[in-house]
Symmetry: C2
DNA sequence: GATTGATATATTGTGCACAATATAATTGCA
DNA sequence: TGCAATTATATTGTGCACAATATATCAATC
């Protein structure tokens, strides 16, 4: 592992509490840095990354309940509800009520929200152009993070 | 890639906007889920994960300026300063001033903060016991996230 | 058809995460 | 010496992220 910024003296006893050994720090800082990198690409759309994630879910399938948005974005309702309100405020979605189940909202794209999809197509393209990872590295990283995610959810379900 | 929760009809045109294709979502949701999993392990210490990260930095090297904490945690000063205030409030650290440079703080562990280190040793152990990833998977994941992080920082420096 | 339990969403409170900006001390150097 | 540029930290404002809790509707069953 590279430690260009924190070389240890050779012969140092490795500690389980060494920050450089923390997989979670690596994962966390990479995720934060990646979202920071999305920012300028999303700025023309006026979206944050979590807002973009919600829009992706809706471009995939429109007129869905909040539950589905949570499932596809992997965020909790307490996170998603305020995001939906902001997207409504921007005029990108509506938050109607289901006819068959008064508890359920039906989240629908407005014309403006639908129109944004075309503009958004450039975001993954621009991101890919940065060539941050090779295609193989990208696939491997996604495979590993998906594995980890699944096991964490599974573990969480047991507790 | 597994898509147990969102099978697409075979022959569906793959979209660059498909949520399941987003490496960033995989990374983000795995990082969030991992930090959630740390929570019960850190609860006996009364720490959040970012607070724990700061403590790791101080257990590695005590009596350091804020800059070093930022570097080792990979968090910004705007994030770290309030965390340091909370840790000070818990009686784990002090935030003195440097004699040689009045701008600089010297962040030092208190006796209580130093004592916590022994208790914290069990956290990585308990985490490892969950066997979320094999040692090889763990190493590979850390290698890839470190690579990504470095390239993102590099890219950010250019802009 | 009333009650019990489950489900869908919303609210509240705490703690990040960071950009932008402010403040203050130090350093360089004209 | 004086002052411009740099550096260290703090502050402000916005938007997550989530646990815990609340509320309202629906479903099941007695």
């Amino acid at each position: 592992m590279k430690q260009s910024r924190n070389r240890k003296p050779s012969g140092t006893m490795p500690s389980v509490l060494d920050p450089d050994q923390q997989i979670c720090r690596s994962l966390y800082s990479a995720a934060n840095a990646l979202i920071r990198t999305y920012r300028p690409l999303l700025e023309p759309l006026g979206l944050t990354y979590p807002q973009y994630l919600v829009m992706l879910a809706l471009w995939e399938k429109d007129a869905v309940p909040v539950t589905r948005i949570c499932r596809r974005t992997r965020l909790e309702t307490g996170t998603v509800t305020p995001i939906l309100k902001r997207l409504e405020g921007k005029g990108l979605i509506t938050r109607g009520r289901s006819d068959t189940d008064e508890r359920q909202r039906v989240i629908e794209l407005t014309r403006s929200g639908r129109a944004m999809k075309a503009q958004a197509e450039s975001v993954p393209v621009d991101m890919a152009c940065m060539a941050l990872l090779t295609p193989e590295e990208g696939r491997e990283l996604q495979r590993l993070t998906e594995t980890l995610y699944e096991r964490l959810i599974e573990h969480q379900a047991k507790a």
